[in-house]
Amino acid sequence: MENMDDLKKELLAEVEKASDMKSLEEVRVAVLGKKGKITELMKNLSGLSVEEKKEMGKSLNILKSEVEKALDAKKDEFAAKELEAKLAAERIDVTLPIRPEQQGRIHPVSKIYEEVVAIFGEMGFEVAEGPDIEDQFHNFNALNMPANHPARQMQDTFYIPNPDSDDKDDSFVVRTHTSPVQIRTMENHPLPIRIIAPGRTYRSDYDATHTPMFHQVEGLVIDKTTTMAHLKGCLYDFVKAFFELDEIPVRYRPSYFPFTEPSAEMDIGCLKTKNELKIGAGTDWLEILGCGMVHPNVLRAGGIDPDEYQGFAFGMGLDRLAMLKYGIPDLRTFFESDVRWLKHYGFLPLDESSMTGGLSNNGGLAR
């Protein structure tokens, strides 16, 4: 049995001596192979007595499994080293930039459209639409602006000749406001009405605050009980939600629009400094929208009995809202398609607006 101990020492030393996979395999063959040392000893067992055979066989089996274990351990060691070497050779420079990806933008006007829709949607409004080219009935007359009304001249109207008539009063106009959608809605929509109508509008004017095309959103509520108090409440709720402020100073000034009476303009409190405009604080006022109770003549033009129904209307500039909320300085730049501007002032494709998820800045950072 002493032999067995020596043998074990010897064999394990050989395993330990192996320097790589190949020499380890040679050791395995030399010990466990067909003509290996342990194999040979096993073969010799047949010449022994039953007792000795049993004794010896047991010892040999233990030896064999110990050597196998040592061989496996050594093998794992070499495999790990090999893998380590392979991975070391595979190193790449992960500080290199990623492949270029294209990330688009949503135009501020579309963004504001979605914000405004989200807010008024919450108040039960639907979105209505109308054509860009209008007849004068819908753009003017039905809105209580007959042919010689001075307010018509205040809106520098673009005209499109009518192929069927030479009379200028029959020519078409490119709508000067979204208000004709009020009339179209009254003509087609069952009562009560609660709509907003965002869209393109056109006036012949061009400077830092006027462009020949701009965007308005019209609002119209008609039922039997809506009052000017509701008008104030609705718009107050809107500006707070839109500017994402808990409180915001507002004031209403009496004004004049042919299609509403009483009419008012709404100002919001702000702080104007040389380089900054801060909404919701300070002592200055900023005009933000026009509104009023729908004029009885307008209801009549829309086929609604003003003795039974009443309501309010309002209109504001979408581009202007975008400028105020997102600090965009010049209206003209909205329509110049400068990719630098679009990238800077535009919004991420997944930056969607909702009252549940928030109106702005919930879509991650721009790349």
Binding site: R99, P100, Q102, G104, R105, I106, H107, V109, E114, F120, G121, E122, G124, E129, P131, D132, I133, E134, H138, N148, P150, A151, M154, F158, I160, N162, S171, F172, V174, R200, S204, P212, M213, T226, T227, M228, A229, H230, G233, C234, D237, Y252, P254, S255, Y256, E261, P262, M293, P296, Q310, F334, E336, S337, D338, V339, R340, L342, G346, P349, L350
Partner: protein
């Protein structure tokens, strides 16, 4: 509308400050646009005395002064010719900002002598026009007083007058509104009647009473138009930006702004015969006082003498018979012209004037005699002379404008309780005559108000005077649970924008107009929709396609050094002039490379398949049938004939896509290749709205699909889509997918042939395919390809 505080106080007895006045104006609907108050810039300026005056040692025209400011005595250099010892004036100490120059005053050194401040002129202080010398105050003026206290400062307020408030185009109207709002009392008018000394040699005849119901004339002889306009009048006119011209002109201007009462004065010696108020003859000549010649039409009202139209009634006087410095006999006109006639003629000939502005809105129909008396009084006072008896043609209309208001209406419409007594009080202050009739308040409009038609107008008057701030805001009551806010068509436009943006494109918004020269190629056979009055020659057509504007954007960005551009816009294109003759389109362009070059070499030039993908993605985002759309090769001629296509559903074009025609691009000055697509949203059918929102049940096969590749040789002219369709339809049950994975033309192929390699996926349904099953499917494909496309299997 501008007026000065002193002018306002001519009509309003008030102690209110400028700020209080301004605040009230805005509150009652006369929005203040600007306050010009020179006093606000005079902090630190004080009265001071020139104690000693001697010549500057180094100058003939400069003086060296000792100025006593009440606090200290300072050395000052002054060049004013009227500067002398003992003069009391306004002193600007070092550190103040001189209003006229807008700069802070510093210690100066003038020809070697230091100056510690400045004696000021009216102009330098912004309180007058005089700059001939420094201000000289009365000798008894105390020194050291704030300048604003001793100077005769008259702040000016500019307000915005809405078209319904014509009476406020006169200072008296503004004063009346302020008085009604509780800011003082309206003073009575001081207009006296002047008895006529003789019968007017000029008579008046009205031919068209619809356009001119009444004309009051008066002959005044021996006037002196070289007299000096009084300083108070000149100052007030100057303050509101009107130049003093001659007393006669100044008087008419003054009354126009004082009472919103236009007038006209003829040089009576130039008139031939009587005045006739009549419609002009078609083509009749009129030369305005601005020396412009007009050929009138028969709807233009002329004030005529025997020699023709001398004045375009209520709009503008003529050049020939107006007043000059030498005028000695005048004929004064104070007449009423109806708004319709004025507005039409003014618009037709594009003549703007203060007079037109007022007549077009409303001129008090009962102010003709009054206005004539007012002007006569002023002319006699300032220019002397003798007035004739008044000549009146026609008569002032007597029509009463009556409206009723139910006291409960304010609560019902405005949501604010106002008592009957309060309503009556407000209306009375505004000049309405009220009485009660069947529980309603009857209100007869004052003649200066032309805008009161019904109850809603009276409601507005009451609310305006109480102030809108008094209305307690109330949130809109929630209706039923909200339904969908956006219609399906609106919603898909939003989704589509986000889809295109997530494909790396920038959304832009361009004009609905475009340049007709550039739009020509994009009209697709339709008539152009041209504007009658474009704002610019290159914005004269309602765009027949979004592409011209996007191409201009490409050109501008390329010119700025940004050559890789991917832009899209969702908006209208127009195919007719009538309302509704427009389509909603999503159009996009891609130009340049997918990115700048990078180490991976992944940058590549945009090609047709980028925009084809955009178009398909846009259709898909719009819930359109992108998988069933047919591709045809007939895109409009502004596309490259060999690199473009149309996606159709039956006859309907869902989209065009392709490279744009280089000849078209050349007109835009674009040398690069540009890829474009146009998805016509209006042509994409809306999905059927079904109440069943459940998706079709997912059937998962238990058996693995098998992928096989086959390559075919076919005529070059055969489109790939034909091969794909043939392969796909070879067996409708088991062929799940067909993809093109290689296209080859060139060596080793017969002339005129190309090779297309297809990757096929076979999907077993009930059991795994045997080799024979797969063999059979492949044979089916090969046969179908031969039959439909004359394609041979490539060996």
């Amino acid at each position: 509308m501008k007026f000065s505080i002193s002018w306002l106080k001519e009509h309003l007895d008030t102690t209110a400050s400028v700020d209080e006045i301004a605040e009230t104006l805005t509150k009652i609907g006369l929005e203040v646009e600007e306050i010009f108050n020179p006093a606000s810039k005079l902090d630190g300026f004080v009265t001071a005395e020139v104690e000693t005056y001697e010549r500057h040692p180094d100058s003939d025209h400069l003086g060296l002064l000792t100025v006593n400011t009440g606090k200290e005595k300072l050395q000052v250099v002054c060049g004013a010719p009227n500067c002398k010892q003992g003069l009391k004036g306004i002193f600007a100490p070092v550190g103040v900002v001189i209003p006229c120059y807008g700069e802070e005053l510093k210690v100066g050194k003038i020809r070697g002598v230091e100056s510690f401040g400045m004696m000021c002129s009216e102009k330098e202080l912004g309180v007058g026009e005089d700059h001939s010398g420094i201000i000289e105050l009365p000798a008894d003026t105390k020194i050291g007083l704030p300048a604003a206290e001793v100077l005769n400062i008259d702040p000016v307020i500019e307000i915005n007058i809405t078209p319904n408030r014509a009476e406020c185009l006169g200072v008296r109207g503004v004063a009346r509104d302020l008085a009604a709002a509780g800011l003082g009392t309206l003073k009575p008018l001081k207009i006296s009647k002047t008895d006529g000394k003789f019968k007017s040699p000029v008579n008046v005849k009205i031919k068209d009473f619809d356009a001119c119901p009444v004309y009051v004339g008066r002959y005044i002889k021996n006037v002196n138009n070289k007299a000096e306009t009084p300083k108070w009048m000149k100052d007030r006119l100057t303050a509101i930006g009107l130049r003093s011209i001659s007393p006669l002109v100044d008087i008419t201007n003054y009354i126009n702004y004082d009472m919103a009462r236009p007038l006209h004065v003829f040089d009576a010696d130039k008139l031939k015969g009587d005045i006739v108020v009549r419609m002009a003859k078609e083509g009749e000549k009129f030369v305005s006082l601005e020396e412009k010649e007009y050929a009138l039409d028969n709807k233009s009202l002329g004030i005529c003498d025997d020699e023709g139209v001398q004045c375009l009634g209520g709009i503008m006087g003529g050049a020939e018979k107006g007043c000059s410095d030498d005028t000695t006999n005048v004929f004064l006109e104070c007449a009423l012209f109806t708004p319709e006639c004025i507005a039409r003629t003014g618009r037709k000939f594009a003549i703007d004037s203060d007079s037109r502005y007022r007549y077009e809105r409303w001129v008090d129909p009962k102010s003709n005699i009054l206005g004539s008396d007012y002007a006569t009084q002023m002319i006699l006072e300032i220019c002397g002379g003798e007035a004739s008896e008044v000549v009146v043609a026609g008569s002032e209309p007597d029509e009463q404008r009556v409206a009723y208001i139910r006291p409960s209406r304010i609560k019902d419409l405005i949501g604010m309780e106002v008592s009957k007594e309060k309503i009556v009080e407000i209306l009375n202050h505004l000049g309405f005559v009220t009485s009660e009739e069947n529980g309603k308040i009857k209100a007869i409009s004052p003649t200066w108000r032309g805008d009161i038609e019904g109850e809603h107008d009276l409601v507005e008057e009451v609310v305006r005077m109480i102030g809108l701030d008094a209305i307690e805001p109330e949130s809109l009551p929630h209706g039923k649970f909200p339904k969908q806010v956006l219609s399906p068509a609106q919603r898909r436009a939003v989704t589509l924008k986000h889809e295109l943006a997530s494909r790396g494109m920038y959304e832009t918004v361009t004009w609905s107009f475009t340049d007709s020269n550039l739009a020509k190629d994009f009209r697709k056979g339709k008539e152009p929709v041209l504007l009658f009055n474009p704002i610019a020659a290159d914005l004269d057509e309602m765009r027949p396609s979004v592409l011209p504007n996007l191409l201009l954007a490409v050109k501008n960005n390329v010119a700025r050094g940004y050559g890789n551009v991917a832009l899209f816009e969702v908006g209208p294109e127009f195919f007719g002039r009538k309302p509704g003759e427009q389509n909603q389109v999503a159009a996009g362009v891609r130009c340049g490379m997918t990115s700048k070059k990078d180490w991976n070499g992944s940058a590549r030039a945009y090609d047709v398949f980028d925009v084809k993908a955009d178009a398909l993605a846009a259709i898909a985002a719009a819930n359109g049938p992108f998988e069933n759309a047919q591709i045809t090769l007939d895109a409009p001629a502004y596309y490259h004939p060999g690199r473009s296509g149309a996606l159709r559903l039956g006859k309907n074009v869902l989209a065009y896509f392709g490279e744009l025609h280089p000849a078209v691009l050349k007109k835009f000055g674009i040398k690069q290749r540009v890829m474009a697509f146009e998805v016509v949203l209006s042509n994409i059918p809306l999905p059927r709205i079904s109440n069943d929102k459940a998706k079709k049940k997912l059937e998962l096969s238990l058996f693995q699909p098998v992928d096989k590749d086959l390559a075919f040789v076919v005529d070059k002219s055969v489109p790939a889509i034909n091969l794909m369709t043939a392969a796909k339809t070879a067996d409708r049950e088991f062929i799940a997918d067909v993809r093109v994975f290689d296209v080859y033309e060139g060596e080793n192929l017969p002339e005129g042939k190309k090779s297309i390699a297809l990757a096929l996926t076979f999907q077993p349904k009930e059991k795994t395919f045997t080799d024979q099953d797969i063999e059979n499917l492949m044979n089916k494909v090969i046969q179908e390809m031969k039959k439909k496309c004359n394609a041979e299997l490539r060996q």
